[in-house]
């Protein structure tokens, strides 16, 4: 039987993405296999508080807020929905931690690690590149570090995370089935900056 192997949604796109990156201007790359756990719980419930304690960071209650606890990031997705990002392979641990904290209270804890993948976009041209298809105001005044937003990038729904306003650097978290579309779209948009050669 063939050797076991895992394939991220953009596994076959590594070369395409690097070819469409331009040193010093724009860098596009997949961050595969990041653990992702979706948590639904009443933010005012004791359970929510216990989850926060267990994770080491309270579930952010401000729209678009990202809480960071060690290797974990907790993204606000909705008034009772969060997405926990963790290192590759940590999805089980995260679910165990949260479930333990729930202690049977009403909530939903769902492993969605493979449901989406992450594109990291970095470099001076990043905001311009994204604004070719993203209607959000990405100015640091409006979208600062550790802010996230669910919105549209071109014709795909994405979660956008601001990782760094200086470089700047953003994460585009996209549904696995849309990943190639978004990658193709980004690559095409980056051609203007001298990418795609060779």
């Amino acid at each position: 039987m063939a050797e076991p192997y895992a394939e991220s949604p953009l596994a076959t796109y590594t070369e395409v993405l690097s070819r469409h990156s331009v040193p010093g201007r724009i860098d596009i790359a997949e961050r595969p296999f990041v653990a992702q756990v979706d948590v639904r719980v009443d933010p005012k419930s004791p359970a929510a508080e216990r989850i926060g304690t267990a994770l080491g960071a309270m579930l952010p209650n401000q729209p678009g807020e990202v809480a960071v606890a060690g290797e974990l990031s907790v993204l606000w997705l909705g008034p009772d929905e969060w997405l926990i990002l963790g290192p590759e392979g940590s999805q089980e641990t995260i679910q165990d931690t949260v479930n333990a904290a729930l202690d049977g209270d009403h909530a939903a804890v769902v492993d969605v690690s493979a449901n989406r993948t992450i594109l990291s976009i970095t470099g001076p041209k990043t905001r311009e590149l994204l604004n070719k298809g993203c209607a959000l105001d990405l100015h640091p005044r409006s979208f600062a570090v550790d802010r996230c937003a669910q919105t549209m990038l071109a014709r795909a729904g994405v979660i956008l995370v601001c990782r760094d306003t200086q470089l700047p650097s953003y994460w585009v978290i996209v549904r696995s089935s849309f990943a190639r579309y978004v990658a193709d779209w980004l690559a095409d948009a980056a051609v203007e900056y001298g990418s795609g050669s060779g």
């Binding site: 678009g64 997705l77 909705g78 008034p79 937003a149 669910q150 549209m152 729904g157």
Partner: protein, 92 residues
Amino acid sequence: MMLIPCPWCGPRNEIEFHYGGQADVHYPSDPRSTSDEDWAHFLFFRDNPKGVFTERWSHAAGCRRWFTVHRDTVTNEIHPDDSASAARTVTR
């Protein structure tokens, strides 16, 4: 391109939303004892005012929450007095 005030995510472009039409159309408490006429009105008949309309939107590309706004159907202006809390309470 209207700027729709999602009470959670803030103002976003119209294309991020799903339109739900008239708000506060309640599901009959006991459908079995509802007459065909009343049932038809629940299913198909909606207000269609020229002026302020109390309507539902869902932030489909965002937090997926449904909410209520008051919009003028002539100017598309959305009533500024839509407080988040009011908007967040929504019924069909």
